[in-house]
């Protein structure tokens, strides 16, 4: 009895000891529940919804489209699109299905809001990497961004990097998706125009870039049009990507010399076809135009032949050939001569009818879909048959440069009747292909054949949907990877004509969201794009992206992606004069700069290291110097450097250009430049 009594007496003690633990955990579970309840409000559609629909003239289909695209305040999109910004030289980041623009990323052109090439030494340095080579004294101020390409692991997007090309100047840029900032710009040293870029191999070993308009190699060497066949050449460049460094390593990159056809779009093989790459081309006619000299214009000259050449590259073997030292150094670029490439079996041609454009490898890597702009078919090649034709030398001849042309009948799997002007193809997870049909202005959904799809309607179009208007590329959710998601496609239309409120003669282009999850495709939403001419887009599942919310440490230099040893910090702010150079270490925090007065003499070189020491999400500060053409964007933790010569005497306010706090207007200081010669 007494034992039990004593145990009972101890009970409250144990209860007391447990209480604090329970107290905290019970409290937490309570608050979690509350949050959960808020998230799943019961759907109880009021009758007034119908009234609204009637009042706004919305059809039931419109209402469904609205429901499928609306993202409530504070909720996130499922997918993210990376769209080339065309002439803007930028990349657009767009949420799907809401089609909201989330960001533009400054790449080839200044973007002041991001402080991109508007005063920060880091961005200026990256941009100048892309300057014209060999002292061709041209600072490029625009770009024609064409094809974004997300980095891949095993043929699937890994959400780490994005590559884009500039068709106008043959440049390739690397964007790091930790901070969505451009880290590197490469100017192809020997070619001036590219189109088949950027396309990555399945593990991002290489970023493919091929020439569009042939020129002599290098492009700044002169040869007249009469020497077109002899002197003009194209290049397929395989830029080696160093994932660890997040940079392309030109010393490990190689190119293959190509005939002067205009190489067009490319795609890397995947799964069974890993190690191979496929690039289309036009102008096997080697037309040299000259409408002003009484020759047929290019548009006619280039369309003379019934067929052009789809290039088949064995890049894995080419890598080997490059490593064996068989590539020639031309301005720091290692080029495998065309003869060597032919002899080593690195290049084959396949005929493709009527001015082809897109080439897209199916998710399993077994089919290569190409289409001629002036044809009504998508031509599907079988990788297995290509390999067989190469192995057994099933060739129908050689082109004038000696490249073997595989026998069309032996490599072609199927020609699918699509419609007039098929361009590009994407895929879903159910054996469907989606081809943009430019001339018809439609998106065609068609079935692949066995083994990807086995049914009576294999290799036939099952549905077509009109798009507004003149569709170029099409993008579907992860639709060019080994594992497409289906769900959405977006028609990337060149013209919008009457789709939006008129805004003057230059019309926005039109991104049209299409739901492909149901039996029938449904057009959901029109998104006007009023900047540049966007080309290709890739759509990635949002949860694959793991961007930083603030820079991981204070003093972070986005160019080196590490803490800058020269970074300013709280407590080490100072101004140091060294001869004619004044160096400033400035901390930036709500709502002041430290130091606030910077006094220099006219002609001094000023170097300023600024660090935003904030750790709060979104606590970005700007730093502009009036009259000195400087505007930085300093994200939380970011360190940046400004260098300029104080060549204008006078008093120049500097201030924070991001509305950072209630005392934002007060966040300023003065740059005082004393004249060396007092005014008489």
């Amino acid at each position: 009895m007494t034992r039990i009594k004593r145990l009972l007496a101890l009970l409250p003690v144990f209860l007391l000891a447990i209480t604090p633990v329970c107290f905290t955990s019970c409290k937490n579970s309570g608050s979690e529940k509350e949050a959960g309840d808020q998230g799943t409000a019961a759907v109880d559609i009021p009758a007034s919804v119908e009234e609204i629909a009637v009042e706004r003239g919305l059809s039931p289909k419109d209402v469904i489209a609205a429901l499928k695209t609306y993202i409530p305040s504070g909720k996130y999109d499922d997918y993210v699109m990376f769209a080339s910004g065309g002439h803007s030289g930028q990349v657009f980041v767009i949420g799907v299905p809401s089609m909201r623009l989330l960001k533009t990323i400054g790449v080839f052109t200044p973007e002041p809001w991001q402080g991109w090439a508007t005063g920060s030494a880091e961005s200026q340095e990256i941009l100048s990497e892309g300057d014209m080579p060999r002292g061709i004294n041209k600072k490029l101020t625009w770009a024609d961004v064409h094809h974004p390409s997300l980095s891949e692991t095993n043929g699937d997007y890994d959400g780490q990097f994005l590559f884009v090309n500039d068709k106008a100047n043959a440049r390739v840029a690397v964007i790091d998706l930790r901070d969505f900032e451009t880290k590197q710009i490469i100017k192809n040293p020997n070619t001036i125009s590219d189109h088949g870029a950027s396309f990555v191999t399945p593990n991002t070993e290489y970023v493919i870039e091929t020439t569009q308009y042939s020129t002599p190699l290098p492009f700044d060497e002169y040869a007249g049009m009469d020497e077109y066949k002899e002197k003009y050449r194209g290049l397929a460049t395989f830029h080696k990507f160093d994932r660890e460094k997040g940079r392309i390593d030109e010393s490990q990159s190689f190119s293959i010399e190509l005939p002067p056809y205009w190489q067009d779009l490319c795609d890397a093989g995947k799964k069974v076809s890993d190690g191979w790459a496929f690039c289309n081309s036009i102008n096997s006619e080697m037309a040299t135009g000259g409408i002003n000299e009484g020759n047929p214009p290019y548009e006619a000259g280039i369309s003379q032949r019934e067929a052009d050449y789809l290039h088949v590259f064995n890049w894995r073997k080419a890598e080997q050939v490059f490593k064996e030292g068989k590539a020639k150094d031309l301005n720091g670029q290692y080029i495998i001569p065309l003869d060597t490439a032919i002899a080593e079996g690195l290049i084959y041609f396949m005929t493709i009818p009527k001015s082809p454009h897109g080439v897209d490898v199916s998710p399993n890597g077994n089919f290569i879909v190409a289409s001629g702009k002036l044809d009504t078919h998508a031509t599907v090649y079988s990788f297995e048959k290509i390999m067989d034709a190469i192995k057994n030398n099933k060739v129908e001849g050689k082109d004038p440069f000696g490249v073997p042309i595989l026998n069309f009948a032996d490599v072609m799997e199927k020609q699918v009747e699509i419609g007039l002007g098929p361009l590009h193809t994407q895929f879903d997870n159910e054996g469907n292909a989606y081809t943009s049909v430019f001339v018809e202005s439609t998106l065609a959904k068609w079935k692949l054949g066995p083994p990807d799809y086995d049914g009576p309607d294999a290799w036939t179009v099952v549905e077509k949907i009109p798009v507004q208007y003149n569709i170029g590329h099409v993008v579907c959710a992860e639709g060019d990877t080994v594992a497409p998601d289906g769900k959405y496609c977006v028609a990337l239309n060149k013209w919008s004509i009457d789709r939006f409120l008129p805004v003057g003669p230059l019309h926005p282009q039109n991104f049209q969201l299409i739901d492909i999850s149901g039996k029938n495709m449904q057009l959901l939403y029109d998104m006007p794009i009023g900047v540049g001419e966007p080309h290709y887009v890739q759509m990635v599942k949002a949860d694959k992206l793991k961007p930083w919310l603030v820079y991981p440490e204070v003093g972070f230099n986005p160019m080196t992606m590490s803490v800058d040893p020269e970074a300013a910090a709280i407590g080490n702010e100072r101004i140091v004069r060294n001869g004619d150079t004044v160096e400033v270490w400035m901390s930036v925090i709500r709502s002041h700069f430290n130091p606030e007065h910077i006094s220099v003499k006219e002609g001094d070189k000023v170097i300023m290291h600024l660090t935003n020491v904030e750790r709060a999400r979104d606590a970005t500060h700007g730093f502009a110097i009036d009259g000195y053409n400087v505007n930085l964007s300093l994200e939380p933790g970011e360190s940046s450097t400004v260098e300029f010569t104080a060549d204008k005497p006078g008093v120049f306010p500097f201030y924070c250009t991001e509305f950072c706090s209630a005392l934002h207007l007060e966040m300023m200081g003065y740059l005082l430049v004393q004249p060396t010669q007092p005014k008489s």
Binding site: R6, L10, P12, V13, L16, A17, P20, V21, R615, A616
Partner: protein, 217 residues
């Protein structure tokens, strides 16, 4: 009575130990448990303040441990500079430096009380029993000191009057709603205090008869 016995109290006769083991074990276990609780509390937060404002959907929190502050301290300091409050890191520097040694010390004193069978055990336990109250008192002192001594040259010194943030419960500072909560470490130290009182009760019950035996008659 020997000198030792005056302080440490009588030892337990062997035959009594064999017979009534539980009587002597219970106070020892309870006191040791209190010491252990107090020791563990070093690693756990004692107090937390959460600041809620529209710009901070997740709220801002600062969690206080006996030797450090964690959470959004930098952001809170950043905001505090507007009202002229000193950085939180400047508060209770001495206490935070010494706290771990002091707590280990008072926990050892409790453990020592297990071997002291005289009423002197009570004195060994007093620091531990008083400790939670001392902690809260010290916290109040610093909050008062920081809240009442705002820099008059601060940007918002005209808008915010000196104030004392609450030790527990809700308050309001400018646009921030504040919620102060006691955290598991503090509750453990309070539980340790209660355990000590319970332990001392059993301690008295176990040893008082022995004390009378040895000193009386």
């Amino acid at each position: 009575m020997k000198e030792n016995e005056l302080i440490f109290g009588p030892r337990i006769p062997k035959e009594l130990w064999e017979k009534e083991r539980k009587r002597f074990l219970i106070p020892s276990i309870v006191l040791v448990a209190a010491a252990v609780l107090l020791f563990i509390s070093i690693f756990l937060p004692y107090w937390k303040i959460t600041l809620i404002a529209p710009q901070y959907p997740q709220g801002l929190t600062a969690s206080m441990y006996v030797n450090r502050l964690t959470g959004d301290v930098q952001e809170i300091d950043g905001l505090n500079h507007y009202i002229g409050m000193k950085p939180l890191g400047e508060a209770a520097v001495l206490e935070r430096t010494l706290s771990i040694f002091i707590i280990i010390g008072i926990a050892l004193l409790i453990a020592g009380a297990v071997y002291v069978h005289s009423p002197f055990a009570l004195f060994l336990c007093i620091p531990a029993v008083m400790y939670p109250a001392f902690f809260l008192g010290d916290l109040y002192f610093w909050m008062r000191s920081f809240g009442m001594n705002l820099d008059k040259r601060a940007p918002l010194s005209g808008a915010i009057k000196p104030f004392v943030p609450p030790l527990l419960g809700e308050g309001k500072i400018a646009q921030f709603a504040t919620v102060a909560t006691w955290e598991v470490g503090l509750y453990m130290s309070i539980a340790a205090s209660v355990l000590i009182l319970v332990g001392l009760y059993f301690h008295r019950r176990a040893y008082k008869p022995l004390l009378i035996d040895s000193s009386g008659r």
